[in-house]
Amino acid sequence: MSAELALIGPILAAMLAAATPLLFAALGELVVEKSGVLNLGVEGMMLVGAVCGFAVAVQTGSSTLGFVAGAAAGAGMAALFGVLTLLLLANQVATGLALTLFGVGLSALIGQGFVGIPIADVPELYIPGLTDLPVIGKALFGQDALVYLALAAVPAVHWFLYATRKGLILRAVGENHAAAHALGYKVIRIRFLAVLFGGAMSGMAGAFLSLDYTPMWAEGISSGRGWIALALVVFATWKPGRVLLGAWLFGGVTIAQLHVQGLGIDIPSQLLSMLPYLATVVVLVVISRDVARIRLNAPASLGKVFHPDA
């Protein structure tokens, strides 16, 4: 039994790490969607962030610079999306999907020369005393800095959205862009900034994967995590705190099912892998009814094109 107990610490630590890329990307997308824009290009922005972050870290030898570059690359991809959908009024769903396809190809192209190059892992935090605590010490106080940064982003985003005037305006734009426009708010500028933030967060999620989680570049390294992050925003009904719970749940299920298998417990691994998507489908079905949509906090202008002259 004690052998299983000793596993709690490592499992907790692995869950926190697995939740981190989801947390970055989903929090970013949450802000984007709160402003009324639906960007389905998270997976693509994540991949470009991952490869650019890795490339810069290899060239400069600094994982911090790599991480910044990953965020910048994600924001660059998002800027492209912003120009197409906000200025040229392209369809958001189609453009987002195209952005993902573009990101998959672009990251593979950039990454050609970086496959198989090893880099040093991002150092882990070590707080004497706390990190040495039994069972939970390593999980809570021995993670990489990025894990804590993602965690800190949760209250920060919540505070911004619900306790600042700028956050209030952003939400107003997402609920009713025509009214916000009539009040004199710059709908397009606000949405563009939100889209850039979302891109930077997706880029960070990608850079976390390539610099920290598996310190390597491999084509398609995100393996669908961008899609899980998108699902997570819906699953969390557009609330930052619930995004955190969702990320822990989704990350936790991934790690738990690997351990369950290793211990020889007989639950089909496919079933566990499927759970996050199943939960998302359920939420999507529920919010397709208008009453439920309002109750569940979905931004009313989500995905709708805004044209100031209309």
Binding site: M216, I255, Q261, G262, S269, S273
Partner: protein, 358 residues
């Protein structure tokens, strides 16, 4: 000789069709369909090495095309169809899940020859080929049994198909022969290529006490994890030493070069027939990567003996008596598993923890 025959054959065909002599120079198009990126440094990479060998040796007679990252299933059918209808005369589809799509497309294109890797369904214009990967797993299983201190060996599996299950069993049998106390823990990631998940699986197994990791997935992510944690690991499909020089004990290396060159030659000279090829060490379809210098000399010597014994037919990976998990003898004393038994294997031998997912 091949060239002369080919010239004659095409010449006759061109005359019959009344096509000008300039077209007689046209090269045969050969297509390759890969499940992963060729940059995976594993399975798809090795198939592409085979394609490059064809280009190198027969480049004056053929041109090659490849499509990477093709998902198994409906998408694969479109890719294969596309190759077949754009004038490719020989198409290699290199993953198990391409089996049914390949057969479907082959039915519509009786004049195109197909080669499907690791499948079992054939038709007049579909041949199959695979390597006896389990032979190499016998060797690494033996090394694992000698190198483990915790007696827990982690095994990262892709999908519970017979090829992977027979690999786990061959590994375990050889491991238990040198170390009856050791056991294998299997974690399925339900993907051939997902670096993040493969790394997570490796970490989970190591956290559960495994000190040697073997994998049947295509990325080198687990090699890095083992390197970081200071444990042992075996590479898959390619020599993965550079991802973890200290941790990498050796690797099972697939080698398709000779096979691909021979089959393309056969297609060129008209001797191509639908057949099944299942080659092992002795057919040069399988190698072991250089042993880690940290391996003790006696372990290397024993591994080399096992390898040459298999090559010379003195040893079989499934030599009876082989017991399943319940202790029942499945392969009787003095008998060897038949090819059919290996190709349909869906049970674990004694020493593997857990059950085969259904």
């Amino acid at each position: 000789m091949g060239k002369a025959l080919m010239g004659l054959a095409t010449g006759a065909a061109m005359l019959a069709l009344g096509v000008g002599a300039a077209d007689a120079q046209e090269k045969m198009k050969v297509g390759f369909v890969y499940v992963g990126p060729i940059s995976d440094h594993g399975y798809s990479y090795q198939h592409d090495q085979g394609r490059l060998a064809v280009e190198k040796e027969l480049g004056d007679k053929v041109t090659t095309t490849f499509v990477e990252n093709v998902p198994e299933g409906a998408d694969a059918e479109r890719v294969i169809e596309q190759l077949a209808s754009s004038g490719h005369k020989l198409i290699f589809t290199t993953s198990f899940g391409f089996m049914n799509p390949t057969l479907k497309v082959a039915q519509r294109h009786p004049d195109v020859k197909f080669e499907h890797a690791t499948g079992y369904k054939r038709s007049a214009n579909v041949a199959t080929y695979s390597a006896r990967f389990y032979e190499a797993r016998t060797v690494i299983g033996q090394i694992a049994g000698k190198m483990t201190k915790s007696n827990i060996i982690g095994y990262i599996g892709s999908f519970p198909i017979p090829e992977v299950v027979s690999g786990i069993n061959a590994f375990t049998i050889a491991m238990r022969e040198v170390n009856p106390k050791a056991e294998v823990r299997v974690v399925w990631v339900n993907s051939w290529y997902d670096p993040g998940k493969e790394a997570e699986a490796a970490k989970a197994l190591i956290d559960q006490g495994a000190d040697v990791i073997s994998l049947h997935t295509d990325s080198p992510a687990a090699i890095q994890v083992a390197q970081e944690r200071g444990l042992w690991v075996f590479g898959q499909s390619s020599d993965m030493t550079r991802f973890g020089p200290k941790a990498h004990l050796t690797a099972i290396v697939d080698d398709w070069r000779e096979y691909y060159v021979n089959r393309v030659k056969a297609a060129l000279d008209g001797s191509w027939k639908s057949q099944d090829t299942w080659g092992g060490f002795k057919d040069h379809m399988l190698f072991l990567a250089p042993y880690n210098p940290a391996l003790p000399a006696d372990v290397v010597a024993a591994a080399e003996k096992t390898r040459t014994d298999i090559m010379e037919g003195k040893r079989h990976s499934f030599q009876g008596p082989v017991k399943d998990q319940s202790g029942k003898v499945v392969i009787a004393e003095g008998k060897q598993a038949t090819d059919e038994q290996i190709l349909k294997m869906d049970w674990y031998v004694e020493g593997v923890q857990g059950k085969v997912p259904k």
